[in-house]
Amino acid sequence: MFDTYGFAGKVFCISFQGDAFRARVSGGLFDPERNGQKLLIKAATYHNLSLRKIDAHWEATVIFDI
């Protein structure tokens, strides 16, 4: 969305339903003068990827290419 349309999300509402989740994102067109430029995730990698169960939760480690 950002690369193609310049859309920058501002408000994220995420609700979980069983194994799935629904996300509603609102925002606007990215304005470099107003918004400031921080990190952009270019890709999610398999580098040192891990998934482990801790008590009742799962914890994932994902390294992003920035």
Binding site: D3, T4, G6, G36, K38, D65
Partner: protein
Amino acid sequence: MAVEGLRRIDSTRVEVPKGYKAGMRTNGIIYVDETLERQLEAHSIDQVANVATLPGIVGSSLAMPDIHTGYGFTIGGVAAFDLKEGIISPGGVGYDINCGVRLLRSNLYKDDIAPRIKDLVNAFYKDIPTGVGSKGKLRLNSKEHRKVLLKGARWVVEQGFGDKEDLAHTESEGCIEGADPDLISDKAYQRGSAQLGTLGSGNHFAEIQYIDEIYDEEAAGSLGLFMGQITVMIHTGSRGFGHQVCTDFLEVMQKAAHKYRIELPDRELACAPFDSPEARDYMAAMRAAANYAWANRQFIMHWVKESFINVLSTGPRDIGLSLIYDVAHNIAKVEEHLVDGIMRKLVVHRKGATRAFAPGHAELPGVYQHIGQPVIIPGDMGRASYVLVGTDKGMRESFGSTCHGAGRAMSRNQAMRVAKGRAIWREMEDRGIIVRATGRSTLAEEMPEAYKDVSNVVDVVHNAGLSKKVARLRPLGVIKG
């Protein structure tokens, strides 16, 4: 102090012995002197060893002196594979397919434009879309996008942005045959449609420089280089398009590795036999992304020329900006190399490594036949960059490959911590270098001490004979993403 488990071969090489890790089919060789050996990361040595476990590897798993940890393959890695027994791996090319560098010469001397550097840097900043998610001045429709993928820089020249000489002075003449636009995902098309002609973020830059040292008068003369001369270096790649192609095919290759029962020590090394449908698809998609990158640098060169004309209010002939050469440093190519006295076709992965073909190679343009392929090595924004040429020894030892840059000495986070409270732009200005960057943290992440000293790196490849120093370039002004 020597790294445990490695064996020093001579002053510029250490060996990662075949027994360093289980499953290695060959040894590894890392080109480092004793100073750079002390900076080796354990993980990057492991990565050299991991690549040596892949099927069909020919010769050694190599790493150049700008080695640092990457995803799967180390950055600075070179590995060649047999076309029948060997593999192709997107991890051996990298996410930014055909990230590369081009260098322009000019008729100008440093003193001619010294008072105008700030204006030129500001003009670059205005004329070249820069930074995270930057959008180009162009938006490709579907038909144009496919033509870019098939024809690369050739298509850009056909649109009037450059001439045939530019293509002759670009690796592979700015276009690799065999790209297939039908193998590109919709997501990649979407990410690439508005990013052609943009610099991007991170370590990508456009830099105004001058020549302060010439090491090889004959080669410099053939390249049109002279002391005090202004040059411009452009470093960028295939932007979000290439990243998406890599991401898409890593998934394909995960399944392929499983299907063909290739044991992987690291999932980022996902690969397929070179002689397989998955490999053919990846090669065709990777070539499309490589062509996108050459088109990208060709467009940016045009904006650079426009900036000079507008700021100096003089004609293009007086300025004389022309392309010396454009090199890819993230790519895999099928090439012929002499191995144990036999000429063999191999697929050579260069990830953060530059092709450096010797004098007389058929792929070089006529004007460079007698000196060898120009090699462009960018350093950090405060110290230096270099021009070198390829050698016969490089052909024999490293499949005609050399280093690609300085190599990071600090992670981005480390650099941010070290730069906290400092005004890097002012420090640079005090050294006579004008910098502008779009991102808030870019200058901190990219400050000179975040990198190894490129002069040390280049000395190693020069002393090892992989390529030969021609000239040193000092920065005057730079824009970063």
